[in-house]
Amino acid sequence: MPEWLQKLLELVKFDFSANLLKTDKVEVNQTHITTAPEAPTIRVQGDCVEINISKLTPEQIKAVKPLLREAFDRSNQTFIASKTGEQIEELKTIEASPQSEKILSSLRSIISPEDYSALRSALFLRSQYAAGKNVYKLKYEIMQRFGDRGRKITNLCSAGYFDDIPDQLEKAKKSPGFTQDKFRLSFDKFVDESAFAIFVKAHSSTKETETQIVRGIKDNSSYGLQRLLIHGIGKENLTKIREAVTAIIKKHPKITKVKEEQVGDAILVDLEYPSSIHEELQA
């Protein structure tokens, strides 16, 4: 036990060893300072000691301050707000999950440190959303720090795009001419252009894919955007997207395929169309 804490326990006349439960450890890793009315002046549980400062006398409070300073200066204790501490523990748990760990470890050395931090934030937000929590504040914090790029990475992450990246990257690494720089460039471009994009889901049918693409064109054209990028990963998606795009262009010749790129099993199709397509699709 650090010296500052021993002094603090002496100050409140607390016999540490006499208050240990069978489940408690002698090693103290954490001290918690509370003002909760229901908490006793001091108690030990596990590797934590909790002190309720609202139950100390003014003289004791006065004596506690230099001890806290000693904890900071000499014992290198970090002072953490309870909620922040909880968030750190949640973050550690989320990042240790197999899915997050796989995504983060595959991209750590490839994307920029800024994008990597934004991605970690986005994965945290996604797990909070999945747990039914309100994520409005988290989204705002990500945008505040990482700007519009952070918002795009968050949206891509929530759409599940990053879930397929580790496998896609592994396949791409086996392709001739693969370099990390090339992959990073295509990642950057993809994030930049994601506002125009849709992502075809792995288990949807060709007909459903067709409907999804037409809906994407309708949505974009209703805001004056004359472009739609279609992304898909996996062999099934390659075929499905090509078939769906061919069928759509056959029905609506005003739509033009300006580009089709394939990297490993990932496909990107770039469609352009005049603004009048909106009325045609509504009909």
């Binding site: 450890k25 890793n29 970090t78 990482f146």
Partner: protein, 95 residues
């Protein structure tokens, strides 16, 4: 698992993931700041107790309100805000 959380669920007794930390509830924040020779000005910003017009800066380079405080770490004084990107930076430093 933080002690704070265990207090509500006394059966949970797994060891803390965080080591060498002092956690504090919002009601204890002023005491912590006072112990570190900091104070709070009329607009809620953390300031130096010896120079009340000098607002401290967070690790992200901004003035920081007491209500935004996530943590204080040694290295002179490193004030972390409680927004998610700052929490991630802090988490990395606690490894």
């Amino acid at each position: 698992m933080l002690f704070y959380m265990r207090r509500k669920k006394l059966v949970l007794l797994k060891p803390s993931m965080l080591k060498n930390v002092v956690t504090f509830d919002p009601g204890a924040r002023d005491l912590i700041l006072d112990a570190l020779d900091k104070s709070v000005d009329s607009e809620g910003f953390i300031v130096e107790k010896q120079n009340l017009s000098k607002r401290v800066l967070s690790t992200s380079g901004e003035q920081i309100k007491a209500s935004e405080l996530g943590a204080v770490k040694k290295g002179s004084f490193r004030f972390f805000k409680k927004d998610l990107p700052s929490v991630i930076s802090l988490s990395d430093e606690l490894k």
